[in-house]
């Protein structure tokens, strides 16, 4: 049930056919975890906050540096040296005081990942390295929580939506490539907003468009290429859960 203030605040999305109060109420009752509040996480957190996701947990272990300011739009010069999650929590709460923002100052590890993502309907990727992403991927597969991978470098970006039990997971694809290649500030904003859109679709009961598909954004030629991807039957992460399911069916 939405109150008068919410009806006004979210009016522009409430009037969208097939979204309406039902969709908004679903967002209000949702919990999203954003792992990493850098270039990607700042943008996805901002739009999910504005959209009215009821509870957002933001996880990061870093402090704000001057080199972050070309793309991490929640941080300003006055925030340099402060914990990102605290600055982000403060600003996001000012943008939308009707929702709950939980800051967690922690580095995601195999040990803490399950507890950090616990209770989330969706995990949104805002990380900046492959190792942490594969940790989050494993935890999400194990706990059956949709995980929206997003990554960028320079003017390029990628997204796929991982639905455990249905789509390939990140480990299925043996992803390779280096990090630290530079990022034009707007690139993570493009990718993160598409991640946020995928999250909203899942939260409101729509089919995510990038489940089992890999979107490649090329800012150099301004092309979006979408490719089908398939499960690796011998994936070290997700195949055991599929096997269990198959065994269960056989029994």
């Amino acid at each position: 049930m939405l109150d008068q203030s919410e009806l006004i605040r979210y009016n522009r999305q409430l009037i969208i056919p097939d979204f309406g109060e039902d969709g908004q109420s679903k967002l209000k009752g949702s919990h999203v975890v954003i792992v990493g509040v850098g270039g990607l996480g700042c943008a996805s957190a901002t739009y999910l906050t504005a959209a009215g996701v009821g509870h957002i947990t933001i996880v990061d272990f870093d402090t704000v540096e001057l080199t972050d300011l070309n793309r991490q739009i929640l941080y300003w010069e006055e925030d340099i040296g402060k914990k990102k999650v605290e600055v982000a929590q403060r600003k996001l709460s000012r943008l939308n005081p009707l929702i709950q923002i939980t800051p967690v100052f922690a580095k995601i590890t195999e040990k803490n990942a399950p507890s950090l993502i616990s209770g989330a309907q969706v995990v949104v990727d805002g990380l900046d390295n492959s190792a942490s992403r594969l940790v989050v991927n494993s935890a999400c597969v194990e706990h059956k929580i949709p995980y929206i991978y997003g990554g960028v470098s320079r003017l390029r970006g990628m997204i796929t939506t991982i639905i455990p039990g249905q789509t390939p997971c990140l480990a299925c694809l043996s992803p390779e490539g280096a990090g630290g290649l530079g990022v034009l500030g707007v690139t993570p904003a493009v990718i993160a907003n598409l991640q946020a859109l995928e999250a909203i679709k899942i939260l409101t009961g729509r089919s995510p468009s990038l489940a089992g598909r890999l979107l490649l954004f090329n800012g150099d030629d301004m092309k979006f290429r979408v490719r089908e991807i398939a499960r690796n039957e011998s994936c070290p992460v997700c195949s055991r859960y599929y096997s269990k399911k198959k065994r269960g069916k056989a029994n």
Partner: protein, 120 residues
């Protein structure tokens, strides 16, 4: 596990490009997405000039006919596009004498792989 998301090309005297050896194809669009190649597991192609560049350019043209926009050579830089990496016999193409213009010979193995994005 290598090979799952790569296009493996073996250059041989009959000018065949193969996708043999793949246990599981996780990027079906990359693996010769047209009927005869899918069926045989082989793309038959001719490499004009016999260079790596010619192979990649030829492949892009062939994929385009199958409505797959696989632009391996960036038209702006005339170099390998930033979304891909190419290994010839396990060695990155930049380490080859001639780079993309290196001549290919029989039994050379060329791997095309997609580079993932990890920054944030």
């Amino acid at each position: 596990m290598p090979g799952f998301s790569e296009l493996l090309i073996v250059v041989n005297p009959t000018r065949e490009v193969t996708r043999e050896g793949m246990l599981s194809i996780v990027m079906p669009w990359l693996y010769a997405p047209w009927p005869d190649a899918k069926e045989k597991g082989i793309i038959e192609t001719e490499i004009e000039g016999g260079t790596l560049r010619a192979l990649l350019t030829g492949l892009s043209a062939r994929y385009r006919q199958a409505n797959v926009d696989l632009e391996l050579i960036n038209p702006g830089t005339n170099d390998l596009d930033f979304d891909y990496d190419v290994l010839v016999n396990g060695k990155n193409y930049v380490a080859l004498a001639g780079g993309l213009d290196a001549k290919l010979k029989a039994d050379d193995t060329v791997k095309v792989r997609i580079l993932w994005r990890w920054d944030g």
